[in-house]
Symmetry: C2
Subunit: 152 residues, 2 copies
């Protein structure tokens, strides 16, 4: 506990900016998705990842890692989506324990309807607010931040 290297002005500004932007953006998108598509952000992300995967299906554990959420949390949300017919579970043929989350037609359809509004919101709150240079630095810098934490 000998070296409290505090943050200087620039570091503090970056950190606080990051914190505030994270919270506000998350809050805004949560609301937008709820209003326009009846989905929570975690649920929307599940659909997005499934839609991007081959055959629209991903193993539960793998999906939980991509979504950066707990396994139990994913079990719950997939359950919710399953009740609404947007996702379905499929047993893994090669591993009895394994379970695939599979995007249904209804799920894919809802995603198609929800995506435009969501992208528009993402543009409004972040992408269209910044210029190309800023976007490039964001991608580079935050990409590295994420990558490091992914390993740890």
């Amino acid at each position: 506990m000998n070296e409290p290297r505090w943050l200087d002005e620039l570091e503090m500004a970056a950190w606080q900016g990051f914190l505030e932007a994270s919270n506000r953006v998350a809050r805004r998108l949560e609301q937008q998705l709820k209003d326009e598509a009846g989905l929570s952000h975690p649920q929307y992300e599940i659909l997005v990842h499934l839609a991007a995967a081959p055959d629209g299906e991903i193993r539960m554990t793998e999906l939980a890692e991509r979504l950066i959420t707990s396994k139990s949390g994913l079990t719950y949300q997939v359950g919710q989506l399953e009740r609404r017919g947007l996702v379905r579970r499929r047993a893994c043929p090669t591993d009895v324990r394994g379970v695939f989350a599979v995007l249904t037609d209804a799920g894919r359809e809802l995603l198609h309807r929800a995506a435009p509004g969501h992208v528009a919101a993402v543009r409004e709150v972040l992408v269209d607010v910044l210029d190309r240079d800023q976007l490039a630095v964001l991608a580079e810098a935050l990409g590295e931040v994420g990558r490091r934490l992914r390993r740890a």
Copy 2:
């Protein structure tokens, strides 16, 4: 409902980087604070804001806005901190409805003990990962993102 403007590669990289970094950083800090100080991140933030305020006290609504949380959420967390003697409530003299959240000595003390480890973690996951130029862009760009959402 005309054709939506999808995100190009750079925009997508920036957005995904932002999302992943937000989640992973939040998750990491949450864990760090819980382990080393027995505080959740929202709780830590409450202490920080109070410590930075004149007389270590802030009105509930004002505090909720700064923390970017709901009023009811703040009521709950202040309740938790109060039970632990880290914060105390004080009636507002000029407005009977008003309530100040006040940092206690114990709260200030715990914050002093928790801060070094927290700052170290912030450095480890974000600040020390980036160079000065990147920090400057982050501060500028995300500052603007936050500012816009604050108004809306």
